[in-house]
Every structure is written in structure tokens, then in C-alpha cells.
Symmetry: C2
Subunit: 423 residues, 2 copies
Amino acid sequence: MSSEALTRLAEERVDHRFKGLPPDADGLTVGELAAQRRNLFAEADGFTTPVLALSAERLEHNLALMETYAARHGLAFAPHGKTSMAPQLFQRQIDHGAWGITLAVPHQVRVARAFGVQRVFLANELVDAPALRWIAGELAADPAFRFVCYVDSVRGVELMDAALKGSTRPVDVVVELGAGDGARTGVRTEADARAVAEAVAGTATLRLVGVAGYEGEVPQADPERVRSYLRRLVALAADLDKGGLFGRAEEIVVSAGGSAWFDAVADTFAEIPGLSLPVLKLLRSGAYVSHDDGHYRRLTPFARVPEEGALEPAFRLWAQVVSRPTPEQAFADAGKRDAAYDLDLPAAQVVRRGGVERPADGITVTGLSDQHTWLHTEEGADVEVGDWVGLGLSHPCTSFDKWQLIPVAEADGTVVDYIRTYF
Amino acid sequence: MSSEALTRLAEERVDHRFKGLPPDADGLTVGELAAQRRNLFAEADGFTTPVLALSAERLEHNLALMETYAARHGLAFAPHGKTSMAPQLFQRQIDHGAWGITLAVPHQVRVARAFGVQRVFLANELVDAPALRWIAGELAADPAFRFVCYVDSVRGVELMDAALKGSTRPVDVVVELGAGDGARTGVRTEADARAVAEAVAGTATLRLVGVAGYEGEVPQADPERVRSYLRRLVALAADLDKGGLFGRAEEIVVSAGGSAWFDAVADTFAEIPGLSLPVLKLLRSGAYVSHDDGHYRRLTPFARVPEEGALEPAFRLWAQVVSRPTPEQAFADAGKRDAAYDLDLPAAQVVRRGGVERPADGITVTGLSDQHTWLHTEEGADVEVGDWVGLGLSHPCTSFDKWQLIPVAEADGTVVDYIRTYF
């Protein structure tokens, strides 16, 4: 990556663009503010609610755990960058051994390239002509740039070929195998996969380098169905290899793995047979970096393999109680603009008042308005106007995307860094 | 507002921060790109999907319509800026006669002040000490800055007073009257309102200038319940006035009005009796600026008063079909990161292929992933990989907040401006 571009992040000015930061930090650079080591909870230090914070210790724990996990299982790792869209985290993921970064749409590739990411796995079809021409330009300008994207239709191959005519380096593609009837993108049958692969072989602008899929969309997923789909994916790689369809590749990419089934991916990919070329077994899990207090806490494979470790939820959203109109109700100042709400509502975890933090007993989040948290309070729940409520979140992807500059705080509240996101 | 700060927006560089813009525009200023008058639909002009566009004509129509509406009904207008968080739109709203801008949280006030908004109505309680100290600083530094926020508890008044000790100008506050049992913020009874008003009177740091409420939260809202609540609000203003509680004010603010009941607000506020001071009847509707194709299309008061005009949905989200794995399914490249999904899913409206636009017959949005639109296609629905699908959105607040620089396009696709947002 480009240390120069990352360094420039520390030179950005703290201003009205960024929520939750101390008003009196306006005009400081991000680096200067970080050097002040302000405390998130010290009123004099000026953080304003709502403010999302990442735990420094938990972030590092999660980064290290997935590095260990991937290495133990012989997997290359391209964590999905759509989760955080944070070049500083991309850098730390790469420092922790990641092969590259997975992304979903061309805009995200532009962000990664602006920060010098060398290997991008675009886990999506890409048929947009201006975006493809831009990719071709990046490939032409930087011999070290490696880019792979999906194909799942002959028409898509034709559109790509038309857009890329005259480009100097072929675009590497993998055939996406859909995860079952009614699942998301990807060819539904092995015959369709072969037809798409052959269409790729018929172009000079594309190069088939493997297969990929997303087991997270297996209908009625359970361990057996997920493994069955992943075995189909492995068999497809072997079949296309036997057919000579990876003839121009230097290695064969086999990729799967969201954040709910990477144990099944590890097991299944361990059984990939010898192919005609070296195999890059590429895992793409992204949510691990922050983990969460809801969806992924329930789904994480580490619950099935506790001997391999455990991820730790690294986000906490701090909101302030602004209204306490009845004994059963309280309202805090975080809303849909601040908290993920697509999979679960936030959960009240702790309450802070006068420097003392205690469990949020008897306090339940019952809804979010654009700019309010609705709290139901049981009899005896001790919550007052002015209290800070610490909220756990569910779904990292829709938590990161509501914050453009996120304080990273140590356990005592000392803010040691700020993470810039680009959504 | 500050024309200098607005001018600087046109000097910002187009780069990886902004989704959907032409990759080859990288490095141009926003003003230079606008001057090129590129076409959203011309492949050579390079816009990439997903891309959200605002209709130039409809935006202007909506701005003019609400100006007329407010003027006709003798209402001052402080459109809720949380909807767009776009200083350029704030300026146009003020140019169209708005008294000021309504906001919800201190961060939004910082954005408004960075662009020189002179009158801010914070339709929310504010007890955050660092934010209050910053507000006090703004008031001290700029005699023309007018700021009003809500109070709904004696404890909130105490916290405000403590934070504002020593400030040079008092902070203007209005008592918020809750919209009923189980509704959102705001005192539940007139007795509580009076207690809060008296607490304000007991401080030197605050000045009571009126009452406010949000009829959009009236439980089981219907025209009669909404009017009944608004009449309580008006009566509360009269009662506090009679009690001499606005003694330090120069005018009495009575404020209500989201985007679903402003006809009831207009009717009820027309009946405000003579008070001891001039009355500022302040309407706060915000969603009108873009309107929508879902929630507010159903709820708009203009459906009840068609003789007063009609708002027009000004957003269209363009996504590209990247996968067509079965005759019943297609997938486009816009997802939760791009489209509002909190009140309704987007609706497929039109399909574009080869420069021809036609209705999206037989195409239904059935879901959103983070980065995909799930489309169900009926037999005979003509949609292919590469097609652009134009999507209507529901809920302006959660549409604007997914885009930081939004092309404004004329009906033929010519992009004439770019709207910067700050969330």
C-alpha cells in the first residue's frame, strides 16, 4: 500500500465533516488530535454524542485471530473491505498477512487503489464500461496491480470484452457458482459455468483464473448444505481445470467464505485435489475486523470451534439520554444515521454517569428514529437525562458506513487513533 | 449564509471519496466537472453505477411549492436540514424564503455554521456540555446567530445551565410538548411544561421563547388526533404567555410540522390567538425537498389539498444489472449502501438499454444485500445484464445520507450541478 496516502490521512483537518469529535479540535489535523490522547469519557476532552468508538485492543485481537486462523488452515486471506472501507484497516489486514482485499463494486476499488492496495478481489460481476476502462488503465499503469472479478453470464463476458477492447493486460476473472435455487448471483449449473468459461477463453481481454462463490447465500443453510455447495465449487474448479480452461492462468483461484461459515470453507478447501497449477485458496471474511454484538455474534464459526479462539465485538456506540418523559421511556440522541438497524436494533449495554459505568439493567432499545434511540425502561432502571448509554451493534457493514472518522479507544477511554472510512 | 464556503464546495476535488462519478473526472474540481455538463446516460461521459441523481426540475419545483405554501398560510419556514444535510440546499431553501434551518443534533449545527447559516432551530433536546459550550461560543462570536433548542425536563434545564455558566448570551429554548402517551420526546402534561418553563425562568443562561412539538409522533394519528394535539400545543403557548413565562423573549415561537401533517399545522396555527408578543409560527417540514416514491408519496398533505399543488419525487437511483442467473431473477449493483430501505424497498421504475428508456414492467425489487439489489422478473420481463434500472426510493432522510456528492440532472440526463452532503 501507499504509506504516503495513509500519512496524508493524518494530515486531514478535523472539522464539521466528522461527527462526534470535540468541537474545540476543529482545525487540528487528525494526527495532532490523536497525539493529544483525549479521553472519550472526559467531559473536558469534548467528545460529543452520538459517537461511535472502536476498541483498540479488540480490533488488534480480531486482526491477529483471523491471521492465525487463515494460516493454520492454509488459506490465503482477502478480507472483504466493503465492511469497513477503511484504508488504515486494509493496511493492518495486509500487515497481518492478508493476500489482498476483497471488494464489491468499482467505487470501492477506486478507494483501495487511491491507497495503493496491490491485490483486489472483486467478489462481484462487473460489466460497467467506464469502470472497466478505468480498471484497464490501472492494470496498464501498474504491473504489480493484480485484479480479479466475477463472471456469471456469456452476455457479461461479451460486455466486458467490448469495453476492454484494446487494453494491454487481460482482466482476470473467476466463474461464480450460485449457491443454489433462489440464491444470489452466480451460474446455477456446471454446464452454464462451462459455457461462461468457454466464452472467456474466446476473448483476448479476459483470462479465466478460477472459481468463486458465496456460501452465505446457500438457501436454508446448515453445515451439510453449505459443505455440499462448497464441494460443488471445488469440483467445478477441478472440472474446468481438466477441460484446460485455466490454460492462461499462473495459479488457480478457488474462493469462498463470508463470516458465518469459514470453518466449512477451511474444511472443504483442505480437500481440494491436486490441480494442474498451484491453487490459491482464498477466504474473504470481512465482518471479523470489528465483529459485532448481534448477527455475527450468533453466527460466528468460532462458536462451533471454540478451541480456535473467539472474536470480540469492537464497536460501541455512545449516545446521550436527552429526554426521560415517563418512567417507562427514555430517548437518546443516536438514530438511524448512527447505528446499524438492518439486522437487529442496537442493544443497551452500559450506562455512564459521573465517570461511573454500570450495566444497562432494565433498559431495552425498542426503536430508532432518524436521530433518536427509543429506550424502554423497566421499573427501577436507573437512567437520567445526561447519562451516556453504550450500545452494542449488529452488522459491522451498516455500522462502519455511518461514520467517516471513528475514534479508536483503549479500554480506559483514551483515544489513540482515528479510522477514516470511504463509503 | 457564507457564499465563500459554498464557493469552496465547487473547488473540491472529485476523487475516490465520491461514488458514481466518472473515473476520468478524478482530479477535476466539482465546478469544472459541472461545467462540462456531462450526461448521466452517455457511456462516454463515464458515470458509473450505482449512482443517485436528483432531478434539477423537480428539486426547483419542490423548493418553490413549499415557499408558496408557507407564505400562503402565513407560516415561517425552517425546513428540517437533517433530511439532506446539504448546505447548497440550505442556501436554496433560504433563497426560497426560509426563516432558517431546523436540525436535530449538534453535529448538524456545526455543518450549518460552517456554511454560515444564521438561524438554527434545533428540534431536539440538547444537554451535551461540550456541544453547549460550542454553541455559546458561536453565539458570543456572532451577534446575528440565532439558535433555539428544546427543553423537556427540569434536569435537562439544570444540565444546560451548568454547562452554560458564564456564557455571554442566553440560549433560547422552547418547551417541547410530547405528542401523546407512548410518543417520543417532550413533556407529557401541561403541568410538566410549566415546571420546565419555570426552571428555565430561574436561570440566567437560558431564555424561554416558545413551545414546539412534532405531530408526526401522535399515536394512531388521524386528522382529528393530530389537530387535537396541535391545539394543545397552541393552548400551551397561550397559557405560558399568560403566566408571563416569555417575559424575556422578543417574539413567541410556536413550532410543529413534519412532512405528513403540515396542512393540519397550517389550519391550527391560523387560529393562534393574540399573545403578548408577535408570534413566529414555524413549520419544519424537510422531506419535501426531494420528496419520494414511497412513504411521503403516500402521506403527503398535498393529497388532501390537491388544489394547493403537488410535490414531485426528485430522486432516482440508477443501478446496473450485473447478473441474470434465472428467468425469474436479476441482480443489480445497488444495495443497502446506496438505497433507503428502512420504510420500504426501492421500486423498479424504468429500464435503460442502448439509450432507450422504458417502464420496468414485470420487475419487482424483493430485497437488498449490502451491495446488491434483488430483482424478481415476471415471464416476459425484458431485462438483461448491462441494463440500467432506475429505482424510486422511499424516505429522503435515508437516501441522502448514503451519498456525499449527488449529481443534479436535467430531464435529458445533463448533469448541471453536484450537491455535497455532510452526514
